[in-house]
Symmetry: C2
Subunit: 375 residues, 2 copies
Amino acid sequence: MPIKFQVITTCPEAGARRGCLTTSHGQIQTPAFMPVGTMGTVKAITVSELQELKYPIILANSYHLYLRPGLEIIARSGGLHRFMNWEGALLTDSGGFQIFSLNRLRKLDDHGVTFRSHIDGSTHYLTPERVTRIQNVLGSDIAMTLDHCPPYPCSWEKAREAVVRSTRWAWRCLQAHEYRGQALFGIIQGGVFNDLRKLALAELVKMDFPGYALGGLSVGEPKDLMYKTLEGVTPLMPSGKPRYLMGVGTPDVLLEAVRRGVDLFDCVLPTRIARNGRVMTAKGYLTIRNAAYASDTSPLDDRCSCHVCRNYSRAYIRHLFNTGEILAMRLATYHNLYHLAQFMAEIREAIDGGYFGRYYREKAPELNNYYGSVV
Amino acid sequence: MPIKFQVITTCPEAGARRGCLTTSHGQIQTPAFMPVGTMGTVKAITVSELQELKYPIILANSYHLYLRPGLEIIARSGGLHRFMNWEGALLTDSGGFQIFSLNRLRKLDDHGVTFRSHIDGSTHYLTPERVTRIQNVLGSDIAMTLDHCPPYPCSWEKAREAVVRSTRWAWRCLQAHEYRGQALFGIIQGGVFNDLRKLALAELVKMDFPGYALGGLSVGEPKDLMYKTLEGVTPLMPSGKPRYLMGVGTPDVLLEAVRRGVDLFDCVLPTRIARNGRVMTAKGYLTIRNAAYASDTSPLDDRCSCHVCRNYSRAYIRHLFNTGEILAMRLATYHNLYHLAQFMAEIREAIDGGYFGRYYREKAPELNNYYGSVV
């Protein structure tokens, strides 16, 4: 088996679980957040810094890498790990989300999808087989099936259509999947409809994937509806396999999803907001460009012990943003990734220590207060 | 004395010298190149990386910092060292060069200069006294006098006017200079006119500065003319004081100037070209965006042992530039700074080892070949 997953302990009160995912590029203690390295680099950050931040796994996007630099160059470089000099584990997205969100000009049939590149307008045809082949070549540790990811809101009929198509495509991906060092995860669609989520899960479970992802959430639906959807489906997901909620990266949602039994997460949020000058602190978001911080010599977060908070002031970082310095984005990105890494470590400790229920009750209202109304 | 300068050894054949400049923020082995951190950050690079690259001194621009974030914020932060978290030595430029090169709307009188900010068009009036005060507040280890830096070409009459004004201003800077931990260097103007350079030097030497800079060179004049100008003036500069050639950072010119007895250099070139995808190698410039490197798995420079060359391929770095990734600029900047640091270390070793003459004869034609016709 290319990966091994073990549930170490489960919270007696809630569905939260502590697990360990073993890949041929290292172990991942779960619940874990995976930073996104769309183009084969987590924006503004080096692989050494990711190691320093103790991130054992990151995500890359097949769709983007397929368009630039193209598969041939990555293949010649010996795969994506070597191309980007990353020794940790890699998960590649199938491109489904990008094809459905970035490209207006697409033609969908049951066999595959024709789309125009968002870069140069060139036409591409992707099928489940081709998407699987792309990820085989990239050589990620975990590949994803091609899914049809509809936007929110979406009617039951449309959501069902996406489930049926995603399920068929998942099967074809599985048949086409070749690379032995790589695990292929199935993606559960179904919008916010409980019956459709169950249907999608049941069909995928028959195919016996080594892991299951929840797609089509965190696409604009109210948070309550996302939590309700999770509650309906996660208890039915195979308990011995990793559960991955795609596109989630705000602390409040991470905590709620962990409580409902999710193991893996990814999101561009912490790195994207950092580049815009927004950082996560123990008291929620801080917009560093605010004039209030112009001569504030305190760190971004006085409860944070990251390299940035130990060495730089808000006044300095604000100055760097105001003058368009690259260092601004470096420092803010590093801090946000540290903040989330610490947060996930805290969650894991709480589950390990058997006090996750209490931790959740204390933390959830606080996080809801800080992050509840914003994305 | 705020600084101490000692000439350790001099090349028996040429004017090249090995020196040691001691500041209250560490020692600088000369000849040395100083990276430029215009806004209080060497662009794309952290202070830890500068230490790793073994740069003991960097430059910052009073003019830029005076406009943004403004003196008050830096003063409240405890000076520029603390503001930017830099433990090494700092040299601040007076702003003369910026006022004369960035601002079209300026009014010059003997008392000072009125200019409009290149950022927001606001009007500012700077005098030698004010420029000195600004640098006192910044708290740099070495401050520069306010000079009138004319562009090239420049008539003898205009160049003489600039010398007279710069000399008067230098005197006023010296009178206004207060900060005890800081050394103030005088700037020699005079264009490419030997008699004017001598005049400027003689006047400044009377004021007994702890160091002397050559300004108004590397402003567009042919390299031969710069070398001839250097030959005319450096032998007359006080041998016990550091000699600083402003605005030079190409390997060929560095070598020629060291041979003519210069100790210190600064230039935005290595960091600026890096951000545009141009790197320095043992074989001259390499433009990484060239299609030729699309699937080239070799390092930027196979003779370089920097972190970037040990870990990343040309194909990967080219991909990062093509996709606008911040990491592209980080890696290229790091490499260029490493390249220049190594080059200066090689020069120092050659002088120390007593073989600089031979080194120069071997190296100069090669560098002239790589860099002679380009800037």
